[in-house]
């Protein structure tokens, strides 16, 4: 590859500001972001303007003495309570939005597990029954990378991909996160979503609805070692039909149709 000296090829749409939104939770995140942007923007311009204005107006001038003032209690009260009220408001609204995301995933949510490792993503799909087979971090070893319990009937139709994630648009996706070694992070800026994946813990509260089709990058966003700089996978949001095709192509061929499809359950 030729050195890209001030000449980067443009592949994605935006350079300024946030990338185009692609998830339901991002609507509220962007809304809150903009509220804070306006709020801080006003404070920014007001305080910087005051600073410049004071510097010009009260520069040293012949015959003008500085005023002898030690402060003003009324002013102190005003500029203590005003920010306090604004911050309380922001806190209440932030908490409201935060709690809105963190409700149990709807029962029709597509279940996917992502297990980070140095330096890639193991992605496990729940298959037709939408139930992930049991897995435990304690059972992880070289052969059984994800610590799966193959005897679990729910595991029969599960399938795995590496660095390649495909999800359908407009359907809730519930992502269970684990890690094999160090902390990795699931981060997709278009979804406005970040979550650390901590070894020894199973993170079960992340779910969202992708709202537009597109090709995204699943980039690790938590320093995870010397190969961190290039730990990335593909993340494609496709139509429901395309997703069906994708699943059908990957799904393990049924050996014996013993267990009837178990009813969809949510793991909470």
């Amino acid at each position: 590859m030729a050195p890209s000296f001030l000449m980067a090829e443009s592949r994605v749409e935006n350079v300024w500001g946030a990338p185009k939104l692609a998830s339901n939770i991002g609507v509220n995140v962007d809304w809150l972001f903009n509220i804070i942007l306006w709020l801080t923007g006003v404070v920014f311009f007001a305080t910087q303007a005051l600073l410049v204005w004071f510097c010009v107006k009260y520069r040293k001038q012949k015959g003008v003495k500085a005023s002898f003032s030690h402060g003003n209690n009324f002013a102190e009260i005003v500029w203590t309570t005003t920010p306090a009220v604004i911050f309380v408001g922001l806190f209440i609204y932030s908490r409201h939005v935060w709690n809105e995301f963190h409700v149990p995933a709807p029962s029709n949510a597509l279940k996917i597990e992502i297990v980070g490792e140095q330096y890639g993503w193991n992605i496990r799909y729940a298959g037709k029954d939408n139930v992930l087979g049991k897995a435990s971090d304690k059972a992880m070893n070289k052969e059984n990378k994800l610590g799966l319990d193959k005897t679990d009937p729910a595991a029969a139709d599960d399938f795995e991909c590496y660095n390649d994630m495909v999800i359908p648009v407009d359907r809730p996706v519930h992502i269970v996160m684990r890690s094999r070694d160090v902390i990795h992070a699931f981060y997709v800026p278009e979804f406005r979503l970040y979550q650390d994946m901590v070894p020894g813990r199973t993170i079960e509260w992340v779910w969202f609805i992708p709202t537009r089709k597109g090709n995204f990058t699943l980039a690790c966003s938590q320093l995870c070692g010397t190969g961190h700089y290039n730990m990335q996978g593909k993340l494609d949001v496709v139509t429901a039909e395309e997703f069906e095709k994708f699943s059908a192509a990957r799904a393990p061929k049924p050996v014996a149709q013993t267990a009837p499809a178990t009813p969809v359950t949510t793991v909470r």
């Binding site: 203590t80 970040y194 010397t226």
Partner: protein, 598 residues
Amino acid sequence: MSTAPAETSSAHHHHDETHHHEPELNFFWKYIFSTDHKMIGLQYFWTSLAFLFLGGGLALLVRWKIAFPEVPFPILSWVIGAPYVVDGIIQPGFYNMFFTMHATIMVFFVIMPALIGGFGNFLIPLQIGARDMAFPILNGVSYWLYLLSGIMICASFIVPGGAANSGWTSYAPLSAVEQYNLTANGQALWCLSIFVNGLASIAGAVNYITTVINMRAPGMKMLRMPLTVWSLFITAILLLLAVPILSAAGVMLCLDLKMGTSFFIPSKGGDALLWQHLFWFFGHPEVYIMILPAMGIVSEIMPVFARKPIFGYKAMVYAMAAIAVIGFVVWGHHMFVSGMSLTLSVIFTASTMLIAVPSAIKVFNWLGTLWRGSITFTTPMLFSIGFVSMFIIGGLSGIFMASTPVDLFIHHTYFIVAHIHYVLFGGSIMSLFAGLYFWFPKMFGKKLDEGLGKIHFVLTFLFMNLTFFPMHNLGMAGMMRRIADPTLYEHLRNLQPINQFVTICAFILGFSQLIFFYNAYRTLRRGKKCEKNPWHANTLEWSLEYPIGHGNFPKIPTVYRGAYEYSVPGFAQDYIPQDQKLSQEEESRLQKAMASSH
């Protein structure tokens, strides 16, 4: 060595002899193993400024790699060489080492020792009217521990495997398992170095607290102390409570790494988040440890050049105290998305919003200090005003992260990098220069050149903004921190021109700092001796003629008032030093003016 300068305040009144006429110390005892707080302060400055070169150089290497990942950096193969650099190209694994060491050095070996070790040692005894620190030998030991920790961190570059590469935050289990980080030796040295560095901080903190409580000159009530002393006093309390946690965590990490324990290794029964809780329990007070002294310095300088009392002295003190207290219960805001309990995230949002209030109070009081002043734009004043301006940006961008849902979006992106650099470069480093320009006459008896100083300020202010402001946008566009080569990512490739612009500005910013060193060199070589109080300031140190002897004050001064009585109506001179005894008539005029100044 002279007699121990420690005295109780009751003894001050009997101390009528003129100056300590001590035997001339030889070079070794005067400059190397000194117990004189002023010399120790200067030792801290010289050492930390040397580290500034190393830390700054590493920053430029990091920036080069991000902007021009494929372009060889001409002299690197020769200076650093394999395996870090091959054919002038920084290898991605070692890139991690460079940013880890950049942050470690800047935090523990530049900002803390310069602001706290340097200004703390130099100023506290002079400004409260003491002959030295309470424990002069411990003070020397503190510097030597700091230097030792510095040598250890430098040595870690040459051990097998190289220096630590898991970030200055050293998140476990990456940092705790050799198989994961591949630099067990460097990481272990990092832990030990931070431990020794912590000992130095603790020793210094004990000294500052004892000195401020016990050794103030007669009349120097707590609420008459200059705000620099207040800020350093509160910082010392923070150090004393926060640093031991890091030291303990560092030892635990080292044991995990080398001795087979598993405090932080989940596969062996430990907990990865335990490290983060311990680290940030130290790490967030640490942020205030790095900014409070800066606030103190600026609060000291602004009244002098606005020729006006500081606006809301008590509010300033209370705000600092509030920051110190609340600072201990906000650490979780670094961990909103770490896998920690979601309920905890909500609680930490509340405390984080709360701590923004005292910071806002301080900004408004600085503005109030300028209001109706008579401002002279000397270099220290320019750096102080620059500090306020940059601190506003750094403070406001922090609000985005405090809001948990927004943190989901910008966590671990360049938005955060922009934020911390506005606070630590725009805040701490700008105030470091403000303080150095301001107190240089007290340290060396000469004033730094104002022309060069102003060029230094303009270039620093301009290019720091051009370097760090675009990073907000990089973060919003989704660029993660700590990646060596953004062009590997399709969604970041079109941001590369911004990255290159930032890097070019960072280089200019870095090289602009050389102006300061040239200025210092030229002033020390050829500068004229200046008067003892060139800025017409009120605090006690300006009453002393350069060079200030071991023991500081020929006679311990008596303090009659606070440090900020400038432009008092009815007085010809527009400043009244803290130790100046006024006639009864003058004193009543001052009291009358003060009564109507609130």
